[in-house]
């Protein structure tokens, strides 16, 4: 018999290393033609940090996003970063990029002040132009200002940024500390169909809701959500590196035996993005890279209970394990 059920799970996750103390630096160079090179030490591991960091730099500098080049290719060239982990790059590097872009903007405005015969604080930078407030005809492009600053004033327009949250060490007795920069929130609903004869569970629907503070790029945030959901589905149904744990026997040695989900195993993920800004996140953003993998598995396990009334206490919820649970708990 096939039975359907619905399950729910919720979660939260911090941005950056728990305990703080993890640095990222950024360097924004304005080229003589007004385009920009952003240099960071964090890696793009497929999540798309080059895109969101370029967006943030472009926003601060009033530049077309496509005019920002991102370099993160080596330690010789790039400033310090602790690395790409702990859902930290959007939050920590993002803050460093904003500081660096603001620094570069300050240098640009100082140069423009001389050219436009106005105080730097009376200038506005938007859509590739620097203009005098209230006098829209007194205006120059960023390229004109950068060229004049470079060749006329012998300037090198480089903005620098360093962001680090102070370390917070846990009290040895109570664990008391302030370990998190900011917390993001999540919830997931899964609908499954359980075949009580075979133990096979089909995932019919996965709906997710995430607080991301602010989605710097909703398309990439959804990409993280889709990828994390797939990883969670793998954890729920098929992935086990030590199937005879704690023994190492019959350990899967290839991706045929260690079955990560394919596109056929993951339904279209319906995702809702909620924006509850962090007061210190870049443009309010929080990191969501990791948390997207956490809620699907418990939501699925709770849906199996809703469908057939058995609890799964060990992942993955393989057909064998579901069938055993049905037999042991007398529901088959």
């Amino acid at each position: 018999m096939k039975k359907k059920g619905i399950g729910l799970a919720a979660g939260f996750y911090p941005s950056g290393m728990s305990g703080g103390g993890d640095s990222s630096q950024a360097l924004v160079k304005i080229q003589p033609d007004g385009s920009a090179v952003l240099t960071v030490g964090s890696c793009d591991i497929g999540q798309g940090c080059k895109t969101v960091l370029a967006q943030m730099a472009a926003e601060v500098l009033g530049l077309d996003y496509r005019l920002v080049k991102v370099v993160n290719s080596s330690t010789d060239l790039c400033p310090l970063s602790m690395g790409t982990f702990a859902s930290r790059v959007t939050y920590v590097d993002g803050n460093a990029v904003i500081l660096a872009a603001q620094d570069a903007k300050r240098i640009l405005l100082e140069a423009a002040a001389g050219l436009l015969e106005a105080a730097p604080e009376d200038l506005v930078l938007a859509e590739g132009r620097i203009s005098v407030k209230g006098s829209p005809d007194k205006t120059k492009t960023i390229g004109e200002v950068a060229g004049a600053a470079t060749f006329g004033m012998r300037k090198l327009i480089v903005g620098l940024g360093h962001y680090m949250r102070d370390p917070s060490h846990p009290d040895p007795e109570t664990g008391a500390c302030d370990p998190f920069a900011t917390l993001a929130w999540s919830a997931t609903l899964a609908e499954v169909e359980v075949d009580t004869e075979t133990g096979q569970v089909d995932l019919l629907r996965l709906v997710t809701s995430y607080d991301v503070g602010r989605a710097i790029n909703p398309l990439l945030a959804e990409g993280q959500i889709q990828g994390g959901a797939a990883m969670g589905v793998g954890a729920a149904f098929s992935e086990d590196l030590h199937p005879y744990y704690p023994s190492l026997d019959f350990q899967p040695t290839n991706l045929g035996d260690y079955a990560i989900p394919t596109s056929l195993d993951v339904p279209d993920v319906e995702s809702v993005i909620h924006e509850c800004p962090s007061s210190h996140g870049p443009f309010g953003a929080k990191g969501i890279g990791e948390m997207t993998a956490n809620c699907p598995a418990p939501a699925i396990v709770n849906a199996i209970y809703d469908a057939v009334g058995v609890w799964i206490h060990e992942l993955p919820a393989s057909p064998e394990r579901v069938l055993r649970a049905l037999e042991e708990q007398g529901k088959s």
Partner: protein
């Protein structure tokens, strides 16, 4: 302020290069004269190296160099500097590298590995963390089988008083949960290409997710510093490879574009071996792990056994939560101690619970070292606590939505480490989930907000 590009769905910076196959990953870097690296790995989970003879391998035509522990200037690295690059004597896991060969091609390198003579005195391994925690268990490491958080063999979180909470409770719900080991299964395996330069500098093309983190570790291993401080003296002085900050300009880690990570590339896997062979042979050396090596010997999400005991009121409020979590760390600390910390800080879940007690154990076994994986220690606790929430709801006859709304963190409440919750949004996230899923919540749940309890939003 209206934002021009932040918040917009702009195209991925590197999207076209990725989908058209133009992106150059480490394996795509071709340098003429590059040697192929293969490792001799331990066939046993625990033992002592009693004899190691590489002369037959070194004598083979096409073999440019063989390294053993004797070639490693500082053979101890990691957050706790304890993991050898190559085993000197004590083998702690099956697959642990003992020697490495650089040869003109893959066939020669594989053949040379088989010609290394290795004598091992096999010992009884301990693979189950519950066994490893027993006082008479075989030792994975001389210091003991449990990571020490100060004077304690576990991280302890104390918030309120759980015993008082249990007395106030109408119902106690206690269950055990198990989260298995998981492999990252990222597409790009461990690959490293070390290129020596005439200046004596070294460029390493790396798949690292954390270039500077590994730069510091590699400087420590290679002792690339201007003065000649011996490794043991240095390690005792600083306690961590990361703090070593001389010699950064001797090494250039080239990377930044990684073919998937999920935490698989936060630990050194291959860069130290290729660097040592490049320094020894004076030629570019490349080591590309096979999928089998990746599955069997790379870092992974270690398994977790978690026990939760909750005291709950009839209305669904959790008044006490006691947790004991045991992490199977494998044979070295890697990032496991941090993983357990993060687990403990967040273990009680996204709910305000006035009385919490958490014990998190980081236990060594004779498995390959576990380490970071997407979600660190939070993924397993989310599984455990979220199934537990539904079990409580089922026992009380409550709706799974309602129990989460009732307990969800509100603005200004304290987490179990005493951290004030700001930018709280679980209530709203749940409401939006219900709306998207077509679940019609009762009016009182729809009206809730994350504002402080008793305050309007």
């Amino acid at each position: 302020m209206e934002l021009k590009v932040v918040g917009h769905r702009v195209k991925r910076y590197d999207g076209l290069a990725h989908v058209s196959g133009e992106t150059r990953f480490v394996d795509d870097v071709i340098i003429p004269g590059t040697l192929t690296v293969k490792a001799l790995r331990s066939p046993v989970s625990k033992g002592l190296v009693r004899g190691l003879d590489t002369s037959a391998a070194e004598a083979m035509p096409g073999v440019a160099g063989v390294i053993t522990a004797a070639d490693v200037p500082c053979n101890a690295y990691g957050m706790v500097p304890e993991q050898p690059v190559l085993v000197a004597e004590a083998i702690r896991y099956k697959g642990e590298p003992i020697a490495a060969v650089a040869a003109v091609d893959e066939d020669t390198a594989l053949e040379a590995v088989t010609r290394i003579r290795l004598d091992i005195e096999e010992q009884e391994p301990v693979l189950d963390p519950l066994e490893a925690m027993k006082p008479d268990a075989p030792k994975v490491r001389p210091e003991g089988n449990v990571y020490m958080y100060g004077q304690r063999p576990f991280r302890q979180i104390v918030f309120g008083d759980v015993q008082t909470g249990f007395k106030e409770a109408d119902l106690i719900v206690e269950n055990e949960y198990f989260h298995p080991s998981m492999e990252h299964a990222q597409l790009e395996p461990q690959v490293s290409l070390a290129v020596p330069e005439a200046s004596g500098r070294l460029t390493i093309h790396t798949v690292s997710q954390a270039l500077y983190f590994h730069l510091g570790m590699l400087c420590g291993i290679l002792q690339m510093e201007p003065n000649d401080i011996r490794c043991q003296a240095w390690a005792a002085r600083t306690g961590s490879a990361w703090r070593h900050n001389a010699g950064f300009s001797d090494l250039n880690l080239a990377g930044g574009t990684v073919g998937g990570g999920f935490g698989a590339k936060n630990d050194l896997h291959a860069d130290h071996v290729t660097a040592l062979l490049a320094l020894k042979t004076g030629r570019p050396c490349k080591w590309r792990w096979t999928r089998e090596e990746e599955q069997l010997y790379s870092t992974y999400r270690g398994a977790w056994r978690m026990t939760i005991k909750d005291g709950v009121k009839k209305d669904g409020r959790i008044v006490a939560r006691q947790m004991k979590s045991i992490r199977d760390a494998g044979s070295y600390t890697s990032l496991n101690a941090y993983v357990v910390d993060k687990h403990c800080f967040l273990a009680a879940g996204p709910y305000f619970i006035p009385n919490v007690y958490v014990q998190g154990y980081c236990v060594y076994t004779n498995k390959p070292p576990a380490s970071s994986m997407r979600g660190f220690g939070v993924t397993p606790t989310t599984f455990a606590t979220e199934v537990q929430m539904n079990r409580i709801a089922a026992e009380l006859g409550l709706d799974p939505w309602e129990i989460r709304f009732r307990n969800a963190f509100r603005l200004g409440e304290l987490t179990p480490t005493g951290r004030v919750v700001s930018s709280a949004a679980l209530v709203e996230v749940l409401q939006k989930l219900a709306a998207q899923a077509g679940v019609d919540l009762p009016a009182d749940l729809k009206a809730l907000t994350s504002a402080r309890k008793g305050e309007a939003s």
